[in-house]
Symmetry: C2
Amino acid sequence: MNSRPIPDATVGRLPIYLRALFDVLGDRGATISSETLARLSGVNAAQLRKDLSYLGTYGTRGVGYDVQYLMVQISRELGLTQDWPVAIIGFGNLGHALLNYKGFAERGFHVVAVFDTLKSKIGEKAGNLLVKHIDELTDVAGSQEIAIAIIATPAPAAQDVADRLVEARITSILNFAPCIINVPPEVSVRKVDLSMELQILSFYEQRTKESPPVNRAIKA
Amino acid sequence: MNSRPIPDATVGRLPIYLRALFDVLGDRGATISSETLARLSGVNAAQLRKDLSYLGTYGTRGVGYDVQYLMVQISRELGLTQDWPVAIIGFGNLGHALLNYKGFAERGFHVVAVFDTLKSKIGEKAGNLLVKHIDELTDVAGSQEIAIAIIATPAPAAQDVADRLVEARITSILNFAPCIINVPPEVSVRKVDLSMELQILSFYEQRTKESPPVNRAIKA
């Protein structure tokens, strides 16, 4: 592991690079230039090279980066070469969707417990699991060594759930509820805003409408 | 509207700045320093100032940016000051969750149509809407002026759906299916990977475990 600390902004971009590498794996050669990887990741090439230098990776001039090797390096840096037991709190539509989401297990995130508060949901089948009452959180978090919890409740319940997660000594929280939750500084929280990518689309859509290309003009 | 073209990477960061501004709105003053906004957004302050300069916004030395004004500016730039009619394709758990997601309407994204292929789902209530068969896509896309479609199907169905969206002259696609879809160059595609934020959490979680702080040590 590299001794130079990796800036938060770089950490935030590593999953983007990793996804781009996964996407090109197979249909391109064994190497990728910093320019191509940067373009696929939506950053400039200088930024990419600087980010990867924190991992001790510099590529080969005129050749680029070895795709497989770079994937392993980024995965290791992100902690994806180990399995992470994950809990989902809230078994509504979003909780169901997240439980069935193929992309988690591919990256080492395994849902090992699902919690809710609704009596009607407790004991319901959730894949190979049974939905547990959130009162069991501390016990299960300890026995299953859960490090990461996903809040998939409505916004009004999110802070109470966060407080219970902190009590249960869970140190990483992914919050899908559209609200801010407060936790002690030693707990990491990331918030998912599902509308972020839509906003990027609307930027380009607006531009298209301002200067319509031929096919749009024909349509109108 | 500014005449200097905004780089893609800057466009990608504008929703992050906007979210950070929404988060501070209310509990902070009317202005925000570039350092604070940069920290909340996970970028460095020089990057933030450069990004905002593309919007013709420079803040006031020693004061910072006016929060409300900056929100309006970014929103306008992203096309969020108008309403966007959106279609959801695939009414499984994810489709349900997206339909109920509060964060879309807040940003001007209104789901005006929901499609599926399963006979049992056609005609089912989806909020105020009824689920339609995907064969009706072209008609509905025209009459409802749908510009943006969200693919919420399983991966094997995603390419076929994308082909139908292109046929229906929809020019922006948000793909939640964990696979790559191919579309003509005039169509914009953004892919959502729900595991990206988990990867950032696992980075920090791994670091915590390598050098356990006091409270983790006590736990162990």
